[in-house]
Symmetry: C2
Subunit: 333 residues, 2 copies
């Protein structure tokens, strides 16, 4: 079997998914990829004694590596595995304490990793990456995305840049001169989900995904974004009920109104007229549609750059490559 230089295995381990990629760290190209449903939560449930934890997680990696081997015609047994995401959390393979800010998004200053040498039972060296904490906040996984993004695109050199990673727990990351000084988590996505599923509002919205952006749908979403500025969210939420009671919106429009309210609330603090900081919005295909409309409604298009899906996916890959290269450089220094 042939050997290829500079290869690593990137492992992106989320709460509900598991992903392995063979990455050429010199170009960030992906030579093979495998995803499975062996997420952290599912794997954590299999742990019976805490002493077995690390070994059991290694077994799950091994099983997936075996599946990955069938997809390549070169040796991967000795490649270093770089693990990001929830693997270093309290329900992961080994809990690592959060690194503290400031964090260097180009040089990974402040990032904590733990390295596990290969041994008889597990032939690959492992680099387990920890998350970061702010005074009132935490992230695990996004720090690797930031590292990747900083290598894939240019951030403003003069001004603080706000990098937004939307999702269940949307992250706002404040970066200046290559340094992450502060970040905040918004419960936007999760609140949308529990409100539309478990609250009184569930009768006023639809759970189906939108098929087409009609003018009325756009209008409903934008109205939500702008209404968020007028009152407390606790009051605005009840409007989702009266929109429907008063037949002002149908359920699909009202679902967009609710989504607009929450995204408008999330973007409220950074859309003041006095704010000129550039915004990089990393929503991917689905989220960017919504955030683009919100940004338009708030009139902050000129400050905002949207990151395309391919760059967003590549950010984790590039971040894992960077961690590997920085680690290697340290070893050789």
């Amino acid at each position: 079997m042939k050997h290829i230089k500079n290869l690593i295995i990137g492992c992106d381990w989320g709460t509900s998914f598991f992903r392995l990629r063979v990455i050429d760290s010199s170009t960030n190209s992906v030579l093979a990829e495998l995803t499975s449903e062996d997420g952290i939560a599912k794997t954590n449930k299999k742990v019976e004694k805490e002493s077995d934890r690390f070994g059991l997680f290694c077994e799950v990696i091994s099983e997936n590596l075996d599946a990955l081997k069938t997809k390549v015609d070169f040796e991967i047994d000795s490649l270093t595995i770089v693990l990001s995401g929830m693997a270093s959390s309290s329900i992961g393979m080994k809990e690592l304490p959060y690194g503290h800010l400031p964090f260097g998004v180009r040089d990974a200053f402040g990032l904590d990793v733990e390295v596990f040498e290969n041994n008889a039972s597990f032939p690959n060296p492992l680099i387990l990456i920890s998350g970061l904490r702010d005074k009132h906040d935490v992230m695990r996984g996004e720090e690797v995305q930031l590292l990747g993004l900083a290598h894939l695109m240019e951030f403003s050199k003069e001004e603080e840049t706000i990098i937004i990673l939307p999702g269940t727990h949307s992250k706002h990351c404040f970066v200046k001169n290559g340094v992450l000084n502060h970040f905040q988590t918004y419960l936007t996505g999760e609140l949308y989900q529990i409100l539309s599923e478990y609250s009184i509002l569930s009768n006023s919205v639809t759970k189906e995904t939108l098929k087409a952006w009609t003018p009325k749908a756009s209008e409903a979403f934008s109205k939500g974004v702008l209404d968020a500025k007028d009152s407390s969210m606790l009051v605005n939420l009840f409007k989702v009920r009266t929109n429907f009671l008063f037949s002002e919106m149908d359920k699909p429009e009202n679902a967009l109104y609710l989504s607009g309210l929450l995204i408008g609330e999330e973007l409220g603090n950074i859309s003041l007229p006095s704010d000129s900081r550039p915004i990089i919005l990393c929503g991917g295909e689905n989220m960017n549609v919504l955030y683009k409309k919100a940004v338009e409604a708030l009139g902050i298009e000129s400050r905002t750059q949207f990151v395309a899906d391919d760059i967003l996916i590549k950010s984790t890959i590039a971040g894992q490559s960077e961690v590997f290269k920085i680690h290697n450089k340290k070893l050789n220094d």
Copy 2:
């Protein structure tokens, strides 16, 4: 059997409870009372054809009246039943359209009722009270409480008074010169419930009710109230997670912190230093404890009057009496 003058039957029909009271409308004293679990939601589920709706709800009233009769030694068959709450909603006995503001809290101006004469199958006349709507808001039941409160206590004659009825959907009612001009619903209680049960925060708070207010518990609650002023609620909520992750609060303290965040957010708009309007807080025994602490943390004690449990219970009774008297007066005019 003896007859007593001025008697009515007050029916307070909520989503999940049913309550009948024999009331002396001249004194608002209660001569007999009965509660059952025949709430609107449960009764609504029994409706098979829409044409049966009214009759089926009457049957439920009749069954409960029969139980009430065993508790009294006087005739109640001809007494007028005054129905408030959800009985006039779309899932109630007959949907009545919401009345529009302004609403007279002393003379019931603007209140819509429908009167059903007694007949062979149902011996009691019925007065079914509808709710009220504002531009973006609705209430059913609180309008009768307001009517009762206005007769049980004095509201400010000069300034607009803010009457707060806390709960799952907390109502802020703005009354001036005996007229309700505006009201707003805050999703405070419901959001607390779904966040502590279904969100990621459920692992960071306890569901048990507080046994004692330790100094640390008070501090946690007040911190939540004050933090609500600093950031968006979407950001503040994630602090409930980090409070626990960073061992800054235990689960009971953190539950109070979450409660403080939400109540602080609810009271935010009316606790500005420039605001001098009197506040009447109708929390009852459980809620007043929390709202009192919030009011103290916000420094608005001097503007706020707390309504005791007995007055709060009496407000519905007095309100139903008023509706009866106003209706009678109209008949006799």
